[in-house]
């Protein structure tokens, strides 16, 4: 009888038969190994969860009283007949790639990942494997990120110019990850920093686990822009353009997202500025990360899967597309808008 593959792709999620567990499943299962706390990876309704120590507080905050075991990065676990370990994915604080070894064969499910260090998340660690499950949210050669320091300098210049002109700077950044990345990277000396409640809730969780963030003021019903001249406001992208913004008076708006690389998306979002800042690997980083695993078999999950798979095939890999419920095809505006929010 043929041996089961180390991981297989089922309608509930990525499944390990040897250990009888799922990785980032999208339907309720008995045992779920979770790469990170974003909603499309850490879902409701599983009986038992396993995640990194650093990812756990956010998951508890978001999912409530779940049964959650934790693991340290690099710690070796044995689950059934599978050897399992978690390795930094560099996507958001606590995010992991999950390495699964069965009978000497190694597979890695990478969840979402970012190769360049962001000063906040545990830096991405390449893991050697036979088969690598990769995202390709930005798996096209038009997606290339400038170094973070350059982008941060642009954000700071924008903030300073707004402050000088008496405008409040409002930046849309996803509440878990991107928001804290912006907060930890910008120079807090430029002016006061205000946060939307959704961002501040995540800040509180991360501060409690020792993540260093600058002082922030949560925007409550009483807060008015005129009381905080020259402020930077960090809010979820969905808050931009809503009546919530009125309190700030004259504003300049911006989004921080990899999608801002595209002029069409930038213009459609109708913000004043778009900063190209992503928590996913760009084209070159995806290719480099895949090469570094040494894997011959590559499974591409979400993003520009058809083009990226064909590219990997042309590069000599054995590549296949796996349909998952992660962020999905981004070609379409409907999904793309969601992806901008969720990224």
């Amino acid at each position: 009888m043929a041996r089961d593959p180390v991981l297989s792709f089922t309608e509930r999620g990525i499944y390990c038969a040897a250990g009888d567990f799922y990785i980032d499943p999208w339907r309720p299962v008995d045992r779920a190994l979770i790469t990170h706390g974003h909603a499309d990876h850490a879902r409701w309704g599983h009986r038992r969860y396993l995640a990194t120590e650093a990812a756990a507080p956010v998951m508890r905050h978001r999912l409530g009283g779940i049964e959650l075991d934790t693991v340290r990065f690099g710690e070796d676990l044995r689950i059934g007949d599978a050897e399992v370990s978690y390795h930094p994915a560099g996507h958001v604080p606590g995010s992991a790639q999950i390495r699964v070894e069965v009978g000497g064969e190694v597979w890695v499910a990478s969840g979402d990942y970012k190769v360049a260090p962001d000063g906040l998340s545990e830096p991405f660690e390449p893991v050697r494997c036979h088969a690598f499950i990769t995202e390709c949210t930005f798996g096209l050669p038009i997606f290339t990120w400038a170094p973070q320091a350059e982008v941060v300098a642009e954000i700071e210049a924008w903030w300073r110019a707004n402050a000088a002109a008496g405008r409040t700077s409002v930046i849309g950044a996803y509440a878990l990850g991107k928001a804290q990345r912006v907060l930890s990277a910008v120079d807090p000396g430029i002016g006061p920093i205000l946060t939307h409640g959704a961002v501040e809730a995540t800040n509180a969780v991360l501060r409690a686990q020792g993540v260093a963030l600058p002082d922030t003021v949560q925007v409550t019903a009483e807060v008015r822009g005129k009381d905080f001249p020259g402020a930077l406001v960090v809010a979820p992208p969905s808050a931009l353009g809503t009546p919530w913004m009125k309190r700030f008076g004259a504003v300049s708006t911006a989004f921080a997202s990899g999608w801002m690389r595209l002029r069409g998306v930038r213009r459609r979002r109708a913000a004043d500025r778009g900063f190209v800042l992503s928590d996913h690997a760009d084209w070159a980083e995806l290719n480099a990360a895949i090469a570094e695993t040494g894997a011959e078999r590559i499974f591409v999950t979400h993003g520009y899967t058809a083009a990226f798979r064909a590219w990997l095939e042309s590069e000599g890999y054995d590549a296949a597309i796996v349909e998952t419920d992660y962020e999905g095809e981004s070609l379409d505006a409907g999904r793309e808008e969601e992806a901008v929010l969720a990224e």
Binding site: T144, A161, G264, V265, D272, A307, R335
Partner: protein, 551 residues
């Protein structure tokens, strides 16, 4: 007014870099004031030759495409070390060729001291070169320019350069920069001047009067009247005319020659040779504003817009076509008379002179007076308006008797009061993604009506439409299209017939090219009829009845 500051962190050295900085500033804001301020700053401090080029680019005088896009794709893919198919995939996502090339190539050096004029000059030599030399020059430019500069360069190269600034905003910015009045500037920028041959001084600051011979006056444009006409006050203060469905034209008769300009500032003199005869009918120093129409000389009524369309498409006119679709100008305003600019005079006075000048002109000639529609009350005029389609008019124009001839679109004195559009409820059957800002959104739809007996009727496509919905509605329909695609034909998807849209259009004509047998004029989506079941959409018979009535 909002505080506006131009964020020029470091003023770039080269003229092209300065222009790209302007482009970036315009692209980064959605606020009109910020755009005007950025442009005004450019018109103050950019090299003078570049300012003229900038005006040219913003007023539609952009250079033609210098190279085929096929070549550019090949070169860019090769330079990036990527297979062409992957380039194409990327292009489909970015939705813009110039942008795809700019993004996909390795980082450029960003060192450049040339001016905008220099770069355009270089581009204009390309078509004369051998292909290998052209390629070498384009690759060199790509390697030298930074990403945004590369994008702008590619836009100039592919002839598709737009900056999201109207001629009106540009004129306002020029007024800020020079202290000259907007209408005067608008007039100076009209006509057939060529960037590269005219200086900033000669074009903007103090134009040579000799140059002005062919120059048209800026057109005065009306807004649509949305309120009831009673809102305009006493009917005795107003004149009404039919609004014709032709091409707005300005006929200039000066010093023994004539010029015919379109509203889009296109010189149409060669296309409409019949207007040479106007020189025999009116004195020189005359400028008429009116509508160019294909004319039924026997019945003395306009022909359909289709007939005119055949004329618009031809640079030179064959005799047969000239006989079949002869054109006239139905004049409704007089801008210059005896060499004197009349635009500041009241409409009633201009109109009186016009009517006297055009009285008793021979029918064989190309000039007709567009008659006034007399009326005593707004309600009587509303009744007259209902007859517009019978006269092949689109509705009425309302003009205040005291109004001067202004420039551009202004509210207050002139209004167009069109008849209600024709309307039909149709089923969406195909969808295609848009371009540019709407890339990745499904915005171009094909609509169908029912044909055949109940129970066995089929959907027959009859029109496409791609405007009229809000961005939110386009997002919603895009998400629906994705989930309800039946088949893909390249970029087009056929979808489950499930949604009814109210299509508005201005006219309907018989067409042998379409399966439905009709062609619509200005079709657009007026409403998404989410309340209406597909079975209740209109039928082909309904369309054919409209054709009988209005075709």
């Amino acid at each position: 007014m909002d505080q506006v500051t131009v964020t020029a962190e470091t003023m770039p050295e080269g003229g092209f870099a300065r222009f790209v900085a302007l482009f970036t500033a315009l692209d980064q804001t959605t606020k009109t004031n910020a755009k005007v301020a950025a442009l005004a700053a450019y018109f103050r401090d950019a090299p003078e030759e570049d300012r003229v080029w900038c005006i040219a680019l913003l007023s539609g005088r952009r250079p033609k495409r210098m190279l085929t896009t096929t070549l550019l794709r090949d070169w860019a893919a090769e330079q990036a070390g990527l297979p062409l198919w992957l380039f194409e995939e990327s292009y489909a996502v970015a939705g813009d060729l110039a942008e795809t090339i700019a993004l996909i190539l390795p980082e450029g050096q960003g060192e450049d001291t040339a001016s905008l004029g220099d770069w355009i000059g270089r581009l204009q030599t390309l078509p004369k070169l051998e292909e290998a030399e052209r390629k070498a020059r384009v690759l060199e430019a790509w390697a030298r320019l930074g990403p945004t500069e590369r994008f702008v360069f590619n836009k100039l190269l592919t002839g598709g350069f737009r900056m999201g600034v109207s001629a009106k905003l540009m004129t306002r910015a020029l007024a800020h920069a020079t202290g000259l009045a907007e209408p005067e500037l608008a007039h100076r920028l009209m006509g057939g001047w060529e960037p590269g041959r005219v200086t900033w001084e000669g074009l903007v600051l103090c134009p040579d009067p000799g140059e002005a011979l062919s120059k048209p006056y800026p057109f005065y444009l009306a807004y649509q009247l949305d309120d009831p006409p009673e809102s305009l006050g006493d009917p005795a203060e107003w004149a009404a005319e039919w609004k014709w469905d032709g091409i707005r034209g300005q006929l200039i008769l000066r010093e023994g020659t004539h010029y015919l300009w379109s509203r889009g500032e296109e010189l149409m003199t060669e296309r409409f040779p019949e207007f040479a005869a106007a020189l025999d009918l009116l004195p020189v120093g005359t400028v008429l504003d009116g509508e160019v129409l294909a004319w039924d000389r026997a019945a003395e009524v306009p022909q359909s817009f289709n007939a005119l369309q055949a004329r618009i498409g031809r640079k030179t006119v064959p005799k047969k076509l000239l006989a079949e679709a002869p054109c006239v100008l139905r004049a409704y305003d007089l801008l210059e008379w005896g060499g004197e600019d009349l635009r500041a005079r009241p409409f009633s006075e201009r109109r009186d002179i016009l009517e006297r000048a055009l009285a008793d002109l021979p029918r064989a000639g190309p000039l007709r007076l567009s008659p006034r529609v007399p009326f005593e009350s707004w309600s009587a005029l509303a009744l007259a308006r209902e007859t517009s389609r019978d006269l092949r008019a689109e509705g009425l124009m309302l003009k205040r008797l005291t109004s001067p001839y202004l420039s551009g679109r202004k509210k207050g004195d002139w209004w167009k009061w069109k008849v209600d559009p024709l309307s039909i409820d149709a089923v969406m059957i195909y969808a295609q993604a848009g371009h540019g800002r709407r890339a990745n959104l499904y915005t171009d739809f094909t609509f169908a009506v029912w044909n055949g007996a109940p129970g066995e009727s089929t959907l027959v496509p009859f029109t496409k439409a791609y405007s009229g919905l809000t961005d939110a509605e386009f997002r919603k329909i895009t998400a629906w299209v994705r989930k309800n695609t039946l088949e893909r034909y390249g970029p087009v998807r056929s979808v489950t017939p499930a949604h009814v849209f109210e299509i508005h259009f201005e006219g309907i004509q018989r067409s042998t090219r379409h399966k439905s047998g009709v062609a619509l004029r200005f079709p657009r989506m007026a409403r998404w009829r989410e309340d209406k079941p597909v079975a209740e959409a209109n039928t082909l018979d309904d369309l054919h009845r409209m054709l009988e009535a209005y075709g």
